[in-house]
Subunit: 303 residues, 2 copies
C-alpha cells in the first residue's frame, strides 16, 4: 500500500460523517437549511501540479478552474470560495497570480470570500489551496450510478492538456491551443448543470479518460468499454491520429472535460462525444478502430 | 507597504462579495437557505507556525484548534471541515498528525468532510490547511461593534503559549502546562456560543492581547485601555509577575482565548477576566498597577 493509500485509509476512518461520502468522491455534500452544498478543495504544488516556468496568471487561473471543475461534475452553481496562498517573495509574481485567479473566478461567477495568506521559508516550493462551495442541483450525480448498457460520453476531446504540458516543459515560451488547454482549462459548469438531471453518473476527467472511466465503472460495479478516443484538430495536426497518440491522449490528465453516462437512447442535452459504454462485469476494455488493444501499464495520473 | 499588505490590498479588490466582509474579519459569512454559514481557513507551515520538532499529533491538533477558535469567536457551531495535507514522506509521522487532528475534531464535534492530499517535492517544508464551516448564531459578533464605555474581557490568562513556545524551542522534550498551552490550545466554542448574543465585539486572541485589542478598538473606531494582564499560575511560577513578564505575555500569540466587550454593568455569562475598557478616541493605552507604560515596539505577532 502506498503512503498516500495508507493515509487515505486512516482519513476515511476519520471522515465518518455521511456528508463526507466516505471520501470516495471528489466532493462532500453538506445539507444546510433545506439546501445542499457541494464542497471541494484542491491544492496545487510547484513542480508537482505545474511547471515552475508556467506564467503565474495561468497558475492562478488553473487553481480556480480545477476546483470549479469539481463543482461542474456535480452540476453545482458556484457560491463562494476560500483561498490559501503562500507568498512567493516576488510581489509582481504574486500580483499576476491573483490576476489570473480573479479572472477565472469572475468569468465563472465564483465570489472570493476569504482564506489565509502565509509566508513560506526561503526556497520552499510554492503551494496554494482553494476550497470551493457550490449549491447542489436537485439531483446530484455521482460516479457510482451508471447502469449496464449506458453510453459513456465526454464533453470534448482529450489529451490536449497532456501534449500542452509536454510542449511547455520543452519550451516555456510555447504558445497555441494545446499549451492553452494545459494552462487555462475551462470548467464545464454550464454543461454540468444541464447534465446533472439526466446523467446516471458523472465526473470530471482530471487524471485521464482511461483511469477515470475505470473509476466510474468500478464505483458503479460495472465493466467499461472505451471504443473511441476523440482528439482535437490541434492535437491531430501536431501529433497525427495513430493509435499510440490516441492511447497517450486517453492516459493524459488535466483536460477537465466531463465524463458522463446516459441510458441508451437518451440524447445528451449538450455537445458531447460518445466514447464507449458500460457493461455487466468489471474492468476496462480499450478498443481502437474496432480492435481490442492491450492496456498501457499506467492508465493515467495516479496520485 | 509590506509584500503581504500589497497582496491583501489586491485580494480585497477581488473579494467584493458582501459575504467576504472586505476580508477585514477572520471569517466570511455566507447566507445559505435561510441560515448563515461562518467560513474560515488557516494554513500552518513548518518553521513558520510551529517548530519542526513539535510532535506531529500536536501539530494536527493545533491545525484543527486554530480554525475552531475562529468559529468560537463568532459563536458558531462547527458543522464540517475540509483538510489539505502535504504528505511528509514519513508514514508514521503522517499517521500521528492525523491522530491529533482527529482527536481535536471529535472533541469539538467537527465532522471531517473532505479535502485534498498531495505530495511535496523532497525537502520542502510541511504545510497544511483546514477550512472550517460553522452554523452562525442569530447574532454574529464582529470586531467592530464595541461601544465607548464597554468593558473588555478575556476568557482566560494570556502568555502561556508564548512561554510554552520558548520552552519547546529550547528543549523539544519539555513538558508541562505552558508547553501544552502552546501545542494543544483549547478553542473556546462553548464560551463563544454563550457570549455571541451579548458581546458587542468579540475575536480570538491569536496574535497577542495588545495587538488584537488594538485591532478591535480600531475596527470599532475607539480607543482602548488595557489595565490588567492576567497571568496563569503556571506562568507566574515559571517567570514571576514583573511588568516585563506581563508585557511579554500581552505581546505573545497563540493563546486562543476570546477577547470580548460587554456594556458596563452586564455580567459575563462565562468565566472571564476584565482587562480594560473601550473609550472615545483612538489608539492603545497600556497600564500596569495603575501606571501608564510605554508601548513595546512590536505589539504582537504581525503576519
Amino acid at each position: 500500500m502506498s503512503a498516500e493509500s495508507r493515509f487515505l485509509t486512516l482519513l476515511r476512518l476519520l471522515a465518518n460523517d455521511p456528508a463526507a461520502q466516505g471520501l470516495v468522491d471528489d466532493v462532500a455534500i453538506l445539507p444546510v437549511g433545506g439546501e445542499r452544498l457541494i464542497l471541494t478543495s484542491d491544492t496545487m504544488v510547484e513542480g508537482v501540479h505545474y511547471l515552475p516556468t508556467d506564467p503565474p496568471a495561468d497558475i492562478g487561473w488553473k487553481l480556480a478552474a480545477v476546483n470549479l471543475s469539481d463543482l461542474a461534475a456535480k452540476g453545482a452553481r458556484p457560491i463562494g470560495c476560500l483561498f490559501n496562498y503562500a507568498l512567493s517573495g516576488d510581489d509582481d509574481w504574486d500580483a499576476a497570480f491573483l490576476e489570473g485567479l480573479g479572472e477565472a473566478l469572475s468569468r465563472h461567477g465564483m465570489p472570493l470570500l476569504g482564506g489565509d495568506t502565509v509566508r513560506m521559508p526561503d526556497g520552499a516550493p510554492r503551494s496554494y489551496s482553494l476550497t470551493a462551495i457550490g449549491e447542489a442541483p436537485a439531483t446530484v450525480p455521482t460516479r457510482a450510478g451508471a447502469q449496464a448498457g449506458d453510453i459513456l460520453y465526454v464533453t470534448g476531446p482529450v489529451g490536449d492538456a497532456g501534449i500542452g504540458l509536454t510542449l511547455a516543459r520543452a519550451d516555456p515560451e510555447a504558445q497555441g491551443p494545446l499549451v492553452e488547454a494545459y494552462r487555462r482549462p475551462r470548467p464545464r459548469l454550464a454543461e454540468g448543470a444541464l447534465l446533472a438531471p439526466v446523467a446516471t453518473a458523472m465526473m470530471d476527467i482530471s487524471d485521464g479518460l482511461l483511469i477515470d472511466a475505470a473509476r466510474m465503472a468500478d464505483a458503479s460495479g460495472l465493466a467499461v468499454v472505451i471504443d473511441h478516443i476523440p482528439l482535437s484538430r490541434a492535437l491531430e495536426a501536431t501529433r497525427g491520429g495513430a493509435s499510440s497518440v490516441r492511447i497517450a491522449a486517453a492516459r493524459a490528465g488535466d483536460d477537465y472535460e466531463l465524463l458522463f453516462a446516459l441510458p441508451h437512447g437518451v440524447r445528451p442535452p449538450v455537445h458531447a462525444i460518445p466514447v464507449g459504454h458500460l457493461a455487466p462485469g468489471s474492468g476496462l476494455t480499450l478498443m481502437i478502430d474496432g480492435a481490442i488493444m492491450p492496456l498501457p501499464p499506467q492508465l493515467g495520473w495516479e496520485h
